[in-house]
C-alpha cells in the first residue's frame, strides 16, 4: 500500500499543473496516469490559449463577457471571472516555465484571433500549442522529480467515513493491483469523446474520471452540452484547428459561397462554435454540401503563411487526405469534440465529496456553460489545475490520518478476476461502436424528444449487455483487452448521464439545440442540470446559474 497526501489521476495539463503546484506547496504528491504524460490528449489542442494581458491594452472583463456570451449565459459568472482574471498570470508563468510562444515584432508574446471574440488574445505556439504546453509541463515534472505511476489504470476510488481516501489501480505493464491511499484526490482525466463515434478525441478519452466520481456520489453537471467542432475530417473525425479561421480561412459551401454571411454577418467564420456548426449542418441538410461536408478554404493565405503558422494542419491535410491546403479547399464537417459538462466543482475544484477535486475537461466549474470558446480549454486546465492543488493543502492538513480497510483491495481484485473469467461472449468494441453511433444519432448537432428518448433506451439496453462482454486476453502483461472493457464500463455511465441531461433541459441553449424547442428559455432554464446516481438509477435535478455582472441578452454574432 502506497501513501500520499495528494493523488492526481491524469497527467495532461490540468493534472500536471496541479501536481507541480502540490510539490511547490510541500505536499507528498503522486500522479497516476494510464499513458505516459506526454501521450495525454492535451496534446491535441492546436490553436492556442486565451488571456487578456493588461500591459497591451486588453481587459479581462472583455474576455469574461465573450466567454459568458459564448456559453449562452449558462456559465457561472463568478467562475468565469476567476479564470479570466488569472489568465494573464497563467500565460506569463507558462512562458517562464519555457513555453516557446510565438512573438510579436518587439519580442513580446504574439496573438492570433479566435472564435467568439473580437479581440485577438489567443497566445499560441504554431498549431501545436497544447503539445508545446504539455511537453513543458512534463519538463517541470522532471525538474520537481514528481512521483508518477506511469501506465497505471485506476479502477475505483476509495472512501473512508464519507471522505475520499485514495484509489485502487493496476500497473498495465504487470497487472499488479494496488491500493494507493491519499488524503485528497484530483481527477484530471480529461474528456469522454469516445462515447461518441466519430470524435476528434484520442482513443484514451473515455471519461474515466466522470464515472469514478459518479460511483462515489458526485454529480455531473450540464452533461447535455456536447461541443461539435466546426472543422473535423469526415470519417475518422480528426480535428483541423479553429486557428485556420482565426488566421483568415473561409468556410464555403458547394456553390462557393461564404455561407456564414447568412448566419453570423458580424463575426462570420469566427462566430461561436455551436453557431458555426449549426450553420454548416444547415447548409449540408439543405443540399449545399458535398458528401455530407462543406469546405474550409485556406488558399488565399498562401503556402508560406500556412506552413509557418498552421504547419500541423498542413501535415494533417496532406497525410490524411492528400490535400495541400494552399492549393485546394478541404472537406470538413461538424464533429464531436469536447464536453462542456463534467464533475460539478466549486471555484477551487472541490466536489461535494470531501477531499475529491476535479479539474480540466472532466470537471465543470462552470466556465464554458453551453458552449466553450476556442482556446479557453487550455486556460481552464492551467488555472483550475493549480487552484485545486492550492485548495487541497488546507484540506489535507485537517483531514486526519487514513486507515483504509485492506479488504477493499481484495474485493476489487476479485471483481476484476470475475470479469476475466467470463465465458466467451461479445467483444467490447462491438458494444462500444453501437454506443458511439447511437449517441451521435441521438445527441447530435440537432436533437429532439424522440432522438433523446431513443438514445436513453439504447444506453439502458447497452448497460444490460455489459455482463455479456468477454475478455479474450487472460494475461497480466499489457492486457489492453481488459483496459478497453473497463473503459467501456466508464463510458456507459457517462453516455447515460449525457442522455439524461439532454432529456431534462426543455429548451435550446448553446450546443444543446432541440428542434422541438428551438428557443432559449431564460425564465425557466437559467439552470444547470445535475445527474447523479441514486442507488442503481440515475437521478436528474437542477440548480441555479450564478449571474454576477452580466445579464443575459439575445446572443447574436
Amino acid at each position: 500500500m502506497s501513501k500520499h497526501d495528494l493523488l492526481i489521476i491524469g497527467a495532461g495539463l490540468a493534472g500536471l499543473r496541479a501536481a507541480v503546484e502540490g510539490v511547490r506547496q510541500g505536499l507528498n504528491v503522486a500522479v497516476i496516469t494510464k499513458v505516459h504524460p506526454v501521450r495525454s490528449h492535451s496534446n491535441a489542442a492546436q490553436g492556442g490559449i486565451n488571456a487578456a494581458l493588461t500591459d497591451r491594452g486588453d481587459d479581462w472583463e472583455d474576455h469574461a463577457l465573450a466567454t459568458i456570451k459564448g456559453s449562452d449565459y449558462l456559465a457561472d459568472q463568478d467562475a468565469v471571472e476567476v479564470m479570466c482574471r488569472e489568465a494573464g498570470e497563467a500565460i506569463i508563468e507558462l512562458e517562464n516555465m519555457g513555453v516557446i510562444f510565438s512573438r510579436d515584432e518587439e519580442g513580446k508574446l504574439g496573438t492570433r484571433a479566435f472564435g467568439g471574440q473580437k479581440k485577438a488574445r489567443t497566445y499560441f505556439v504554431g498549431a501545436i500549442t497544447g503539445s508545446a504546453l504539455l511537453h513543458v509541463l512534463y519538463e517541470q515534472s522532471v525538474k520537481y522529480n514528481l512521483h508518477i505511476y506511469e501506465e497505471w489504470f485506476v479502477t475505483k476510488l476509495i472512501k473512508q467515513d464519507g471522505k475520499i481516501a485514495g484509489a485502487i489501480a493496476f500497473d498495465i505493464k504487470t497487472g499488479q493491483m494496488e491500493l494507493i491511499t491519499a488524503k485528497a484526490v484530483v481527477l484530471a482525466t480529461g474528456g469522454a469523446g469516445r462515447v461518441f463515434e466519430p470524435s476528434t478525441n484520442a482513443l484514451i478519452c473515455t471519461g474515466d474520471g466522470l464515472s469514478l466520481a459518479m460511483q462515489v456520489g458526485a454529480p455531473l453537471m450540464d452533461t447535455e452540452m456536447i461541443q461539435y467542432h466546426p472543422t473535423t475530417l469526415a470519417g475518422n473525425g480528426i480535428l483541423l484547428s479553429e486557428a485556420a479561421r482565426g488566421d483568415g480561412a473561409y468556410l464555403i459551401n458547394s456553390e462557393g459561397d461564404r455561407f456564414m454571411e447568412k448566419y453570423a454577418p458580424d463575426y462570420m467564420e469566427l462566430a461561436s462554435r455551436d453557431v458555426v456548426s449549426r450553420a454548416e449542418q444547415t447548409e449540408i441538410d439543405e443540399g449545399r454540401g458535398v458528401d455530407g461536408c462543406v469546405y474550409l478554404d485556406l488558399r488565399h493565405l498562401g503556402k508560406k503563411f500556412i506552413e509557418e503558422r498552421l504547419g500541423y494542419l498542413q501535415e494533417v491535410a496532406l497525410e490524411f487526405r492528400g490535400i495541400d491546403l494552399s492549393e485546394s479547399p478541404i472537406p470538413i464537417k461538424p464533429g464531436m469534440h469536447y464536453i462542456m459538462g463534467g464533475i460539478k466543482t466549486d471555484l477551487n475544484g472541490a466536489t461535494n465529496i470531501p477531499g475529491l477535486y476535479a479539474a480540466g475537461e472532466c470537471a465543470n466549474v462552470s466556465v464554458h456553460g453551453a458552449n466553450r470558446l476556442g482556446a479557453n480549454s487550455l486556460l481552464d486546465t492551467i488555472v483550475f489545475g493549480r487552484r485545486a492543488a492550492v485548495d487541497s493543502v488546507e484540506y489535507i492538513k485537517s483531514a486526519g490520518s487514513l486507515n483504509v480497510d485492506e479488504r477493499e483491495l481484495s474485493k476489487e481484485k476479485s471483481r476484476i478476476q470475475n470479469i476475466l473469467d467470463r465465458p466467451k461472449g461479445m467483444r467490447s468494441a462491438e458494444l462500444r461502436n453501437k454506443m458511439g453511433t447511437a449517441m451521435t444519432k441521438g445527441i447530435g448537432v440537432w436533437r429532439d424528444k424522440d432522438s433523446i428518448t431513443e438514445a436513453i433506451t439504447k444506453m439502458k439496453n447497452l448497460r444490460g449487455q455489459l455482463p455479456n462482454v468477454f475478455i479474450e486476453n487472460k494475461g497480466k502483461v499489457f492486457n489492453t483487452d481488459l483496459v478497453s472493457y473497463l473503459e467501456l464500463e466508464f463510458m456507459v455511465d457517462v453516455a447515460e448521464s449525457i442522455c439524461h441531461g439532454a432529456d431534462k433541459r426543455l429548451e435550446s441553449r448553446g450546443a444543446h439545440f432541440r428542434t422541438d424547442m428551438k428557443s432559449r428559455n431564460d425564465s425557466d432554464w437559467l439552470k444547470h442540470t445535475l445527474v447523479q446516481f441514486a442507488g442503481e438509477e440515475l437521478n436528474t435535478t437542477t440548480s441555479d446559474v450564478t449571474i454576477t455582472d452580466w445579464q443575459p441578452t439575445e446572443r447574436v454574432y
Partner: protein, 318 residues
C-alpha cells in the same frame, strides 16, 4: 480492400519465442496501418498488444517498424507501403526491449531524456515574459515538434552498438535548451553533452533524420551542438581532434591520412588511449585492415586541397 498484415508477436507470460502471425482484414482504401491493427485487435484477436491514442500523429504512442523501418503507424496508410496488396510486416521498434507484441519498454528512453536536464534554467523569474525575437523562437519550433515517439532511437546505428549513447531524441531535446535564448545554462549543458555518450558519439548516419515523422532532424541538431561546444572552448575531446585532424589531412594531402587521424583523435598525450589503439591496430594488422603508415599521393590531390582551402576561406568570410 483486403490487407495482409504480418505482426511480430511476443508474450513474456507463455515462455515462447517471438513469432510472426498473419492477419487478413478488410479495410477501406485510405486506412492507416493503425486502423488495421485496431481492427485486428477489436474484431479478430483481443490478445494483440500495442500502444496508440490520438490517431493524428501528435501523441507519439504508435511508433513501430513497418517493413523494417520505424514509422508512426497512425500516419502511414496501408496503400502507401503496400500499393499492390503486398503483405505489410509490423514489428516493435529496435533498440528497445519488448514488453509484449508491439509494446516496447521506454524506461531507458525517458531516463536519457531526464539526463539532459530537460527544462529551461534561468537565474531569475522576470515579472513579465522574456523578450526574445520571433525568429529565435520559431527556430526552436523545429525541435519542439518532437513528440518523443522513439522512431529515431529505433533506427540509431550508434545505439545499436553502444546502449549508453544518449541518442538522437534526448540530444535533440538538449538542443532545444542549448538554443533557447532564455536558458542560462548553455555552457554547462554543452560541457556535459561534450562528455562520453554525448554529441560526439553520433555516427552521422542520417537514419534518424530519415525516419523522424516530424522533421526534427536530430542529427543536424547534434552536429550543431558540436560546433557550439567547440565555440565555447570545449576542445579536449577526441571528437574535436578528429575533425581537426580530418580537415588538416585533406588540406595537406588531398586525402585522409587514416593512421594519423587515429593517433591524433586519440590524443598524442593520452597514454591509455594510445595503448587501446595499439591493441586495435595489432588486431587490424592480422586481418589485413591496417592502412599504410604513409598515405599515397592521389592523382590531382592539389585540386582537392584547393577545394578544402576555398571552403575554409568562404567559411571565414561568413
Amino acid at each position: 480492400m483486403e490487407a495482409q498484415i504480418k505482426v511480430k508477436r511476443f508474450n513474456p507470460e507463455n515462455g515462447a519465442k517471438p513469432f510472426f502471425q498473419d492477419y487478413s482484414i478488410d479495410v477501406s482504401e485510405d486506412s492507416t496501418i493503425l486502423d488495421g491493427l485496431i481492427k485486428i485487435r477489436e474484431e479478430q484477436d483481443g490478445t494483440l498488444a500495442l500502444r496508440c491514442s490520438c490517431r493524428a500523429s501528435i501523441c507519439g504512442s504508435c511508433s513501430m517498424k513497418v517493413n523494417g523501418s520505424a514509422k508512426l503507424v497512425c500516419k502511414t496508410r496501408i496503400k502507401e507501403v503496400s500499393p499492390q496488396g503486398e503483405t505489410v510486416t509490423v514489428e516493435p521498434m529496435s533498440n528497445f526491449p519488448v514488453i509484449k507484441d508491439l509494446v516496447t519498454e521506454m524506461d531507458s528512453f525517458w531516463s536519457k531524456v531526464k539526463s539532459i536536464d530537460p527544462y529551461v534554467k534561468t537565474n531569475f523569474e522576470p515579472e513579465a515574459e522574456h523578450i526574445a525575437s520571433n525568429e529565435s523562437m520559431t527556430h526552436l519550433l523545429g525541435v519542439m515538434n518532437c513528440i518523443m515517439c522513439g522512431a529515431c532511437v529505433s533506427e540509431c546505428t550508434a545505439l545499436e552498438v553502444d546502449s549508453t549513447f544518449t541518442g538522437p531524441a534526448a540530444l535533440a531535446k538538449a538542443y532545444r535548451f542549448v538554443a533557447d535564448p532564455r536558458d542560462e545554462d548553455k555552457k554547462e549543458r554543452l560541457g556535459k553533452l561534450n562528455e562520453s555518450s554525448g554529441v560526439w558519439d553520433c555516427s552521422r548516419c542520417l537514419a534518424c533524420v530519415e525516419v523522424c515523422p516530424k522533421d526534427v532532424a536530430p542529427m543536424e541538431r547534434i552536429v550543431k551542438m558540436r560546433d557550439l561546444a567547440i565555440e565555447e572552448g570545449y576542445t579536449n575531446t577526441s571528437g574535436f581532434r578528429h575533425t581537426e585532424s580530418f580537415s588538416d589531412s585533406i588540406k595537406k594531402h588531398g586525402r585522409l591520412d587514416e593512421t594519423r587521424l587515429a593517433l591524433e583523435s586519440t590524443g598524442l598525450l593520452n597514454i591509455s588511449g594510445l595503448i587501446d589503439l595499439a591493441v586495435i591496430g595489432i588486431k587490424s594488422l592480422f586481418k589485413g585492415k591496417i592502412p599504410p603508415p604513409l598515405p599515397h599521393k592521389p592523382k590531382e590531390a592539389d585540386k582537392v586541397t584547393n577545394i578544402a582551402k576555398r571552403l575554409d576561406s568562404e567559411e571565414s568570410e561568413e
